[in-house]
């Protein structure tokens, strides 16, 4: 809260989402994503928090029949990324994502991190070298892998693989990073590493993170949104949500009476 001026980086407005089978998974959801802050999405399984997260980089476009209604405005463009004229690939170039299970590609450590640059057509060897090193340092992985960059990424431990996926996402200088339960497949030590990493990253970008773990939300986030059955129940500063929520449902979930 040290910064006095809050900028909105992205903003969901009255977002509805329908899966191909007609299920309405998000109901009129609105949420601001503040610049250089971590916003956590919490709520019981099936509440739509992952579905919501995946709207921001248009991941639902990969499966035919899914449908968005409403807006997610991306700033400074002030453009609705869900609009028909928007190219989802351009959106993903600026909003990157880290998944629940580490999903490195069947390539070397180096090529995993370089992937986004290669996809963007970067040809200069030295530019790629620099970016890979910078991203691996940014993901606190450089010291562990600098002597074996040509090793297959699958040889890394689960926690290292997840940090590699973060490095991969960082290498292209995204403006927003989406984390979909990034530590749920990791052990406690790897989890702490990732959490520290995320806290360090927010000086460079804005973060939206889905988590099952309320303590994690309390530890790392600046803002927290509680979702239930596809609706946004409450959004506020994290300390407010965890000490003095204004909605009864939020309090019940936070205190463990439910969920």
């Amino acid at each position: 809260m040290a910064q006095n001026k809050l900028n909105i980086k992205a903003e969901a407005k009255n977002l509805n989402f329908f899966y191909a089978d007609g299920t309405k998974a998000l109901k009129d959801v609105s949420l601001p994503v503040y610049e250089n802050k971590i916003t956590a999405l919490i709520g019981p399984s099936g509440c739509g928090k992952s579905t919501f997260l995946r709207c921001f980089n248009r991941m639902h476009d990969l499966y035919p029949g899914n449908r968005y209604e409403g807006q997610i405005l991306l700033h400074p463009d002030n453009t609705n990324v869900l609009a028909k004229g928007v190219d989802p690939i351009e959106v993903r170039m600026r909003i990157s994502m880290v998944f629940q299970k580490p999903n490195p590609f069947p390539k070397s450590i180096y090529e995993n991190v370089a992937y986004g640059l290669r996809v963007r057509g970067e040809r200069s060897k030295s530019a790629v070298d620099d970016k890979v090193e910078e991203a691996l340092k940014g993901a606190s992985l450089w010291n562990e892998v600098k002597d074996r960059l040509q090793d297959l990424a699958f040889n890394l431990s689960g926690g290292q693989q997840q940090r590699l996926c973060i490095a991969r996402a960082l290498a292209t200088d995204p403006e927003i990073m989406l984390f979909d339960e990034p530590t749920s497949a990791l052990d406690p030590i790897a989890t702490v590493n990732i959490e520290e990493l995320m806290s360090g990253l927010k000086s460079k970008l804005s973060i939206l993170v889905v988590t099952h773990n309320m303590q994690q939300a309390a530890r790392i986030s600046d803002y927290t949104a509680y979702m239930y059955l596809g609706e946004m129940i409450e959004f506020d500063a994290t300390d407010k949500i965890f000490t003095n929520p204004s909605k009864k449902e939020t309090e019940d979930y936070i205190t463990g009476k439910f969920g």
Partner: protein, 311 residues
């Protein structure tokens, strides 16, 4: 130690005693299952046994050196020569042409079906492709001889009626569905989350297919190629009908030549006396075929192990 002995001496209660009938039935079932599994092994051993015994009769008359180095194969002539090289050159040339057609087209078809085709398109194209598998190979043979070769002869007037090019091309067409189908299964087995990782980085469908899915499915794709090679090397009817029956040591696809399989068919259809050198020669040729396929399978196995999936 003392306690175990003490426990051993305790009588076993009837309710906990071993059920002899149940154990017996289990054992019988296990043996039946094992015998079924061993059938394939017995048959393979039997085939190898016959190949080796009959071929050893052949090699008591013909030196292995001549067999492997002579460039003439004419076991049924007055002036008999027993060099397997012409048959090997025919087999390799036709197989090479076939794979040159089937590997690229099959791989591209697999990438399309797995990564690009809509559900509806896949459900239409795949059955049609697999229909090709059901066409009898003799039909493909005449397709090569009466349809493909005349077209080729328009382009290359000097092309003889029996030639390895036409036979190889048609054999390749025949193998496409095998490679496409097995390679597509391997690509579809790549977990969706790996594709999502690529798309999330801003990759296009094509970039994802080429840079992520194909390397992830390498081991399965190699298996598809090995299956294709085995089919090509062992294919009989197409080459027997369209490539000619004249054993010629040549790698020129514009000539006709006999393959190992074509020679075996040719001799087997004739009326050679059992035990004659001509009769035994088909087992020697068969053994070479067996060794060739076996070698390709081993190479394929090693390659698959090298690229085994680890996601």
């Amino acid at each position: 130690m003392a306690t175990t002995q003490l426990l051993k001496d305790l009588p076993v209660s009837k309710r906990l005693a071993k059920n002899i009938k149940r154990n017996f039935i289990e054992r019988v079932i296990e043996i039946i299952l094992m015998l079924s599994a061993l059938t394939a092994v017995f048959i393979t051993v039997g085939i190898v046994y016959i190949l080796v015994t009959e071929a050893s009769g052949f090699f008591s008359d013909v030196s292995v050196f001549e067999f492997l180095t002579s460039r003439q194969w004419s076991p049924l002539f007055e002036d008999a020569h027993y060099g397997i090289l012409p048959l090997i050159s025919g087999t390799l040339t036709t197989s090479f042409i076939a794979l040159g057609i089937a590997v690229p087209i099959g791989t591209v078809a697999a990438i399309y079906l797995s990564e690009f085709a809509s559900h509806k398109a896949r459900e239409t194209v795949k059955p049609v492709l697999e229909l090709l598998v059901g066409v009898p190979t003799v039909v493909f043979g005449y397709f090569a001889l009466l349809f493909v070769t005349p077209i080729l002869q328009k382009m290359i007037p000097s092309l003889p009626t029996f030639n390895m090019l036409g036979a190889g091309i048609v054999m390749g067409i025949m193998i496409i569905p095998y490679i496409a189908s097995v390679a597509e299964d391997a690509m579809r087995a790549v977990p969706m989350q790996m594709r999502e990782g690529s798309y999330a980085m801003g990759a296009t469908k094509f970039q994802t297919a080429i840079r992520v899915v194909t390397p992830a499915a390498t081991s399965g794709i190699i298996a598809a190629y090995i299956l294709g090679i085995s089919r090509a090397v062992g294919e009989t009817m197409v080459v027997a009908i369209a490539a000619g029956q004249q054993p010629t040591f040549t790698f020129n696809p514009l000539e006709g030549a006999a393959t190992i399989t074509a020679y075996i068919v040719q001799v087997a259809m004739g009326d050679l006396p059992h035990g004659s050198i001509g009769y035994q020669s088909i087992f020697a040729a068969g053994m070479v075929l067996f060794v060739l396929t076996f070698l390709f399978n081993i190479i394929g196995h090693l390659a698959r192990k090298r690229f085994a999936e680890r996601y």
